[in-house]
Structures are given as structure tokens and as C-alpha cells.
């Protein structure tokens, strides 16, 4: 009978030690990223059926489990996917805005200067210095257009590289997840709870949600199945890499289907297929219009008697903005005169060139700039709103999963007291046994 209490006290000491160890582990990992606080699951041991009825035999440590809430995980991950997408897109749009350089260093200022130089030419058509001024205004406008177009092209190439890299990184993460799946299954087989492996896998899953908006399904076996737009990319220990097709800007599954990603990859892809080409096309269309209108008006004027003005600007179709250049280098070739006699002081065609200002060109450039600005603003605002949501979801999850030092201190204290009490229990039983063994039956000795 006495030995039962001894064992009961021992189980208490053991449980308290496990409890203290776990608290120590939690405190030690309080700042480890992705760590989930752990808890000791205790239950009463199987009772001893004494003649007086079932009698408790102490405590058993069932398991050490992670305090993980899969609902909070799912919520945060879907927010992270959205957040990654909007952040990347807002960032790229803002970079494109910086390339445009409005309002101080943009195209609108250069265009205004060009109109003013045409008006100056109308004032003094015979003056070579004024003519050179027009050529330099043209040069400076075309140089600015080319530099903006070049900046957009660089941005596009950067985005392609980033997307390629992001897909490679995502593929590496698939491999890691598949590998962790395998190790978790193995550990489960040997009966342990692979908490650290589960934490590591959750970190990978978080990363995947942010990167590509992957959907995660937990299977009964304990492994996770990861899919992107409904196509499985990790199943058990098998990872299926995705491929980025540079020609079509598509992300392809080996099954031959283009997937619709989420997360940062989606942000990069949207920028690459919609935002940047939209800007490029808008700029090209404006340049095309500018060239057509300027050349037509210039050609209606006269350089010398009965000789019309030649083309002022030239472009290569398909890449108008990148190839825009001034075709006239001789200031004498500017057709300032409107009359066929090309009288030396006739500046009426220069006036007509300057009057293009009141036409569609200015408004077109301005709406090109402001439409993009509105896009940047709207996307930026959506990104900020999504950041708030994600931060809130993150806080909720961190609150549930994270280590509270106060709580661990309380745990430590209570297990410490339990250990002390169990030890005292053991001492009491020991004293009782001492009386039984050493002091009994010694009457009269």
C-alpha cells in the first residue's frame, strides 16, 4: 500500500519536471520566429482497484502539444496572399510613377517648353539662334521621352527577373514542404509529436501563402497538400515545380496548364501583363500622335520657295517612345513660313505649330499622367488597407501562438510548487516506511 503512494508521488515529480522543462523551452523560444508555445497534456493514471474501491495512482504525461489554431492560420494566410499581391503591385506602380518624373521633371514640362519655342520662332523666324532654340527644345523633349520609355523598359525587365526568381524560390519552398511532410510522417510513425518539424512546416506554409497564395489542406495522415489555383503542387512527399514562361508571362504547371497564382507572384504577373504594357502602350500612342501632328503641320509649311518642310520627328513603329528622334539638325530646315514663297519673315507656320498646343496633345499627355497617378493612389490605398487587415490577423495569431512570459512564470511556479509538494509527499511516505521497518516490534528491547 505504501509503495503505491511512493509511485504516485514519483509520477507527480516526473510530471512537474516535464512541466518545468516545457515552460523553460517556451521561455527560451519566446523570440523564435514561427515558434508555437507548447503545453503539457496531463491526465490521471489508471486507478488501483483496492478493496476499498478504485484508488488514484498519480498523474501521466500524455503528450506535449502545440497551441495552434488552424482557423487563425487560414485567415492570416489568405490575408498574406492578398497583401503580398497588392504590396508588390503598389511598389512597381510607384516606381513607374517615379520614372515618369511628373510634375517637376516630366514630359509635360518639356512639351510646354516646345510650344513656347515655336511661339518664339513665330516672333523671329529669320533668327538662327531662335531656330536652334526650337531644335534644342525638340531634342530635349525626345530625349526625355526616350529616357522615360527606357526607364519603363528597365522596370519591365526587372519585373521579369523578379518573377523568374520568385517562381524558383517558390519551387524551393515546395521541395522543403514535401521534405518536411516526409519527416513528419516518419516522426509520427515512431510515436513522437514532431512539434519543431510542424513549426518549421508552418513557417514554410506562411512563406508560400505570401509568395504565391497557395491553398493548404491538412490530410488525415498529418501531411499537408498544397495547391495553387486548384492544381496540386505538393502532395505527400512529392513536389511539382512550376515553370515561368518568359514569352507568354504565364506560370505553367507540368500538366501543361497555366495557373492563376496569388500572392507576390500574382502582383508581379499583373504588373507585367497589365500595368507596365498599359503604360508603354499609352506612351507609344501619345508619341505616335505627337509625331503625326507635328510632322503634318511642319510639312504644310515651307522651308524655301515651293519646298515644303520635311519630317520633323521619326519613330520606329512598335517602339515609338523608345526610338523617337529629331530628324532635322539644320536650323534652316525648320519650315516656319506658311506661304509658298517662304518669305524670310513669315512665321505663320511656326504659329500653327504652336497652336497644336490647344489641340489634343496636351490633354492626352496630362490624362496619361493622371490616370497612372490615380492607379498608383488606388492601389497604394488598397495595399495599406490590406496591410492593416493582415497586421490584425497576424496579431491575433501571434497572440494565440506566442509565448506569454507572465503565463510561463506562473506555469513554472505552479510546477515548482507541485514538485516540492510531491517531494514532501515522498519524504512523508519514506518516514512512514522508516517507522514500519525500523521501529516496529521493538517493544522491550
Amino acid at each position: 500500500m505504501v509503495s503505491v503512494s511512493l509511485h504516485t508521488a514519483l509520477s507527480g515529480i516526473r510530471a512537474a519536471r516535464v512541466g518545468m522543462d516545457t515552460a523553460a523551452h517556451n521561455v527560451a523560444n519566446a523570440n523564435t520566429p514561427g515558434f508555437t508555445r507548447q503545453r503539457v497534456d496531463l491526465s490521471t493514471s489508471y486507478p488501483y482497484l483496492s478493496p476499498n474501491g478504485p484508488m488514484g495512482t498519480g498523474v501521466t504525461v500524455d503528450d506535449i502539444t502545440r497551441m495552434r489554431d488552424s482557423f487563425l492560420d487560414a485567415r492570416l494566410r489568405s490575408d498574406m496572399g492578398q497583401n503580398g499581391k497588392l504590396d508588390v503591385r503598389a511598389d512597381l506602380l510607384a516606381r513607374a510613377e517615379a520614372v515618369l518624373g511628373e510634375p517637376e521633371n516630366g514630359l509635360t514640362g518639356e512639351l510646354t517648353e516646345l510650344w513656347a519655342s515655336f511661339e518664339e520662332l513665330a516672333l523671329r523666324p529669320e533668327d538662327t539662334a531662335t531656330r536652334r532654340q526650337v531644335l534644342s527644345a525638340l531634342e530635349s523633349l525626345t530625349a526625355r521621352v526616350r529616357s522615360v520609355a527606357g526607364g519603363l523598359e528597365i522596370l519591365e525587365k526587372d519585373t521579369i527577373n523578379s518573377l523568374d526568381l520568385a517562381v524558383k524560390e517558390v519551387n524551393a519552398l515546395f521541395e522543403q514542404a514535401a521534405d518536411l511532410n516526409g519527416r513528419i510522417l516518419e516522426a509520427r510513425g515512431t510515436g513522437g509529436a514532431p512539434n519543431d518539424l510542424l513549426d518549421a512546416r508552418d513557417r514554410v506554409l506562411d512563406d508560400l501563402s505570401r509568395r504565391i497564395g497557395a491553398t493548404v489542406t491538412l490530410e488525415d495522415s498529418g501531411s499537408v497538400r498544397i495547391s495553387v489555383s486548384g492544381l496540386a503542387v505538393v502532395s505527400g512527399t512529392r513536389a511539382t515545380p512550376l515553370a515561368f514562361d518568359v514569352d507568354t508571362n504565364e506560370i505553367r504547371h507540368p500538366a501543361g496548364v497555366a495557373v492563376t497564382p496569388g500572392g507576390e507572384v500574382a502582383g508581379l504577373q499583373t504588373s507585367l501583363t497589365e500595368d507596365l504594357p498599359g503604360l508603354r502602350d499609352g506612351l507609344d500612342a501619345f508619341v505616335d500622335d505627337l509625331v503625326t501632328q507635328l510632322n503634318a503641320t511642319h510639312a504644310s509649311g515651307y522651308v524655301s520657295e515651293n519646298v515644303n518642310g520635311g519630317p520633323l520627328l521619326g519613330v520606329t513603329a512598335g517602339a515609338e517612345a523608345l526610338t523617337l528622334q529629331v530628324l532635322i539638325t539644320d536650323p534652316g530646315q525648320l519650315a516656319a513660313a506658311e506661304g509658298p514663297s517662304a518669305a524670310p519673315h513669315d512665321g505663320d507656320n511656326a504659329t500653327k505649330l504652336a497652336d497644336l498646343r490647344t489641340g489634343t496633345l496636351d490633354g492626352r499627355l496630362r490624362s496619361f499622367v493622371t490616370e497612372h497617378a490615380a492607379n498608383v493612389e488606388a492601389t497604394g490605398r488598397a495595399a495599406r488597407a490590406q496591410q492593416q487587415l493582415t497586421a490584425a490577423a497576424g496579431t491575433a495569431r501571434d497572440g494565440m501562438h506566442g509565448v506569454s512570459l507572465d503565463e510561463e512564470m506562473v506555469q513554472m511556479l505552479s510546477y515548482q510548487r507541485a514538485l516540492e509538494a510531491s517531494s514532501r509527499m515522498m519524504t512523508a511516505v519514506d518516514q512512514a516506511l522508516d517507522v514500519l521497518i525500523n521501529r516496529m516490534g521493538l517493544v522491550g528491547r
Binding site: A94, E102, A116, H345, D346, V369, T370, V376, G402
Partner: protein, 299 residues
């Protein structure tokens, strides 16, 4: 909701980041004096700003056009004024020539009339900033001798100056308008120079009938110049009115641009102060988050 040390630190950190962002924005607004640093800060205002800038540049150019127009008009007017004065003198000479019968003084008068003719030719050929004043678009002399008659050397080019968005003013008169009409055929000269030639010849010949007859033609010639001067005067009035409006418009565009793009200094200083205080408060809160835990109270 369960709160841990980690939660508090993280959310305080993100708050600190937000505060710092706003603090920085308030600082850069005050530093640059601009409320809109890039179009996406306020697309509608940026659009307005671009419009106003283009309009401002156009008004500046119109002011230059107007200054150019004014100097053209003023010079042409003063030249024509000189021509009128000289023609009055020619008329006086003609009148006294018609009543004076002394051949010596008539010759002297003829010489003076010829001098006046040359002076008028000089006036017709005068230039503005290296450019002929009365030839339209053409280069060269406005009046050229051609086989005993005078011809107009210019063309009928109309020099226009845009002085406001929709106001285009003609700033030149041609020698043909002021001193013509020049003869189409050599036998029928009607211009003022030929008229003076005729008067000089009549003086030398003592042909008093012709002198009396030409007096009316001199009056017509002076009237012509007067007409052109009044055209110039009307144009000057239009230019001056446009320049006065231009100055007003530039001022109002500038103030509108300031309202659209510039920062309200008093507001920005307040904002900066507020953000600074908020930033410091967040820092203070962060320092308190990091301090206490149960550990401090356990022995």
C-alpha cells in the same frame, strides 16, 4: 484576445513605423513647401497643377509676344508720325511755291521737297531689331527705284502676335498701305514718293497749276498715313488691354497654383508638431511595453 509580450512589441513596432512615416511626410512637405510631391499624392490636384503650369507658361509667352508687339507698334507709329510731320512741311512748301514766283526760292523748295522724299524713303525702309518694318514678310527695302518710278519691295504678309488665348493682333502696316498705292503701270504713279517727285519737278518748272492741283493729293496721302496710324493705335490699345489682363491672369494662376500644390505653412507646422509629439509618445509607450513582466516581481 490573448496578449503576449511578442504581440505588444510587434504592434508597437508597426505603430512606430506608421508614426515615423507620417512624421517624415510632414517634414518633407514643410521642407519642400509642396503639398503634392508626386501626382499620386492627389491625382485630381496634380491634374489641375499640370493644367495650370501649362497655362502659366502660355501666359508668360503671351507677355513676351505682347512686349514684342508693343515695340513693333510703337516704332511703326513713331516712324509714321515723323512721315506726317515731314509731309506737312512738304505741303507748306507746295503752298508757298504755288504763290511764290521767284525761281531761286522755288529751286530751293524743290531741293527741300526732294530731301523730304529721301527722308520718307528712309522712314519706309526703317528696321526693327534688324528686320524691315514696312515690308510684310519680305526682306530688304520697302521702296526701291525701278526705271524712274518707285516700287514696293515687300509683300502683303500680315504679321500677327498672339497676345492672349484667343486674341491675335496684326502688328504691321506695309509701306504699300502707308505710302502707296504704288503704280501698277509706270505711267500712272500714285504713291507719295512719285507725288513729291512731281511736286519738285513742278517747282523747278514754275508750274503753279500742277502745284495747286497736287495739294489735294498731298492731303489724301497724309490721310492715308493717318489711317494707318489709327490702325496701329487700335492695335496698341488691344495689346495694352491684353497685357493688363495677362498680368492679372498670371497673378491669379500663380495663386491658384499655390493653393493647389503648395503646402499651407501654418497647417504644416502644426502637423509637424503633432506628428513629433505623437512619435515621442509612441516611443515612450514602446519603452514601457519592454519593461515589466512577472519576472521582475518574483524573488
Amino acid at each position: 484576445m490573448r496578449i503576449t509580450q511578442g504581440t505588444m512589441v510587434n504592434s508597437q513596432l508597426s505603430r512606430l513605423q506608421n508614426r515615423l512615416e507620417r512624421f517624415e511626410r510632414a517634414q518633407s512637405q514643410l521642407g519642400t513647401g509642396k503639398a503634392i510631391l508626386k501626382p499620386s499624392d492627389d491625382p485630381a490636384a496634380a491634374n489641375r497643377g499640370l493644367l495650370l503650369r501649362a497655362s502659366q507658361r502660355a501666359r508668360v509667352q503671351e507677355a513676351r509676344n505682347g512686349a514684342d508687339a508693343s515695340s513693333w507698334l510703337a516704332l511703326a507709329d513713331s516712324k509714321l508720325e515723323g512721315a506726317t510731320t515731314r509731309l506737312h512741311r512738304a505741303r507748306d512748301l507746295t503752298v508757298s511755291g504755288a504763290s511764290n514766283q521767284d525761281p531761286g526760292s522755288q529751286r530751293a523748295m524743290a531741293t527741300e521737297i526732294e530731301a523730304i522724299r529721301d527722308e520718307l524713303i528712309g522712314i519706309a525702309n526703317s528696321q526693327h531689331a534688324g528686320r524691315p518694318l514696312f515690308t510684310g514678310f519680305a526682306e530688304g527695302k520697302a521702296v526701291v527705284p525701278d526705271g524712274g518710278v518707285w516700287r514696293y519691295g515687300g509683300d502683303d504678309g500680315v504679321i500677327n502676335r498672339r497676345v492672349s488665348e484667343h486674341d491675335v493682333v496684326k502688328v504691321n502696316v506695309t509701306a504699300a498701305d502707308a505710302f502707296g498705292p504704288f503704280a501698277v503701270a509706270p505711267d500712272d504713279p500714285t504713291d507719295v514718293f512719285s507725288l513729291l517727285d512731281t511736286i519738285a519737278a513742278a517747282l523747278r518748272n514754275g508750274d503753279q497749276a500742277t502745284l495747286t492741283g497736287k495739294l489735294a493729293e498731298l492731303d489724301v496721302a497724309m490721310e492715308r498715313i493717318g489711317d494707318q496710324q489709327s490702325i496701329l493705335g487700335a492695335a496698341t490699345n488691344r495689346v495694352e488691354a491684353a497685357m493688363a489682363r495677362n498680368a492679372d491672369e498670371q497673378l491669379s494662376i500663380r495663386s491658384e497654383l499655390a493653393v493647389t500644390e503648395d503646402v499651407d505653412i501654418a497647417g504644416a507646422v502644426m502637423e509637424l508638431q503633432t506628428q513629433e509629439v505623437a512619435y515621442q509618445a509612441t516611443l515612450a509607450a514602446l519603452s514601457r511595453v519592454l519593461q515589466p513582466s512577472l519576472v521582475d516581481f518574483l524573488r
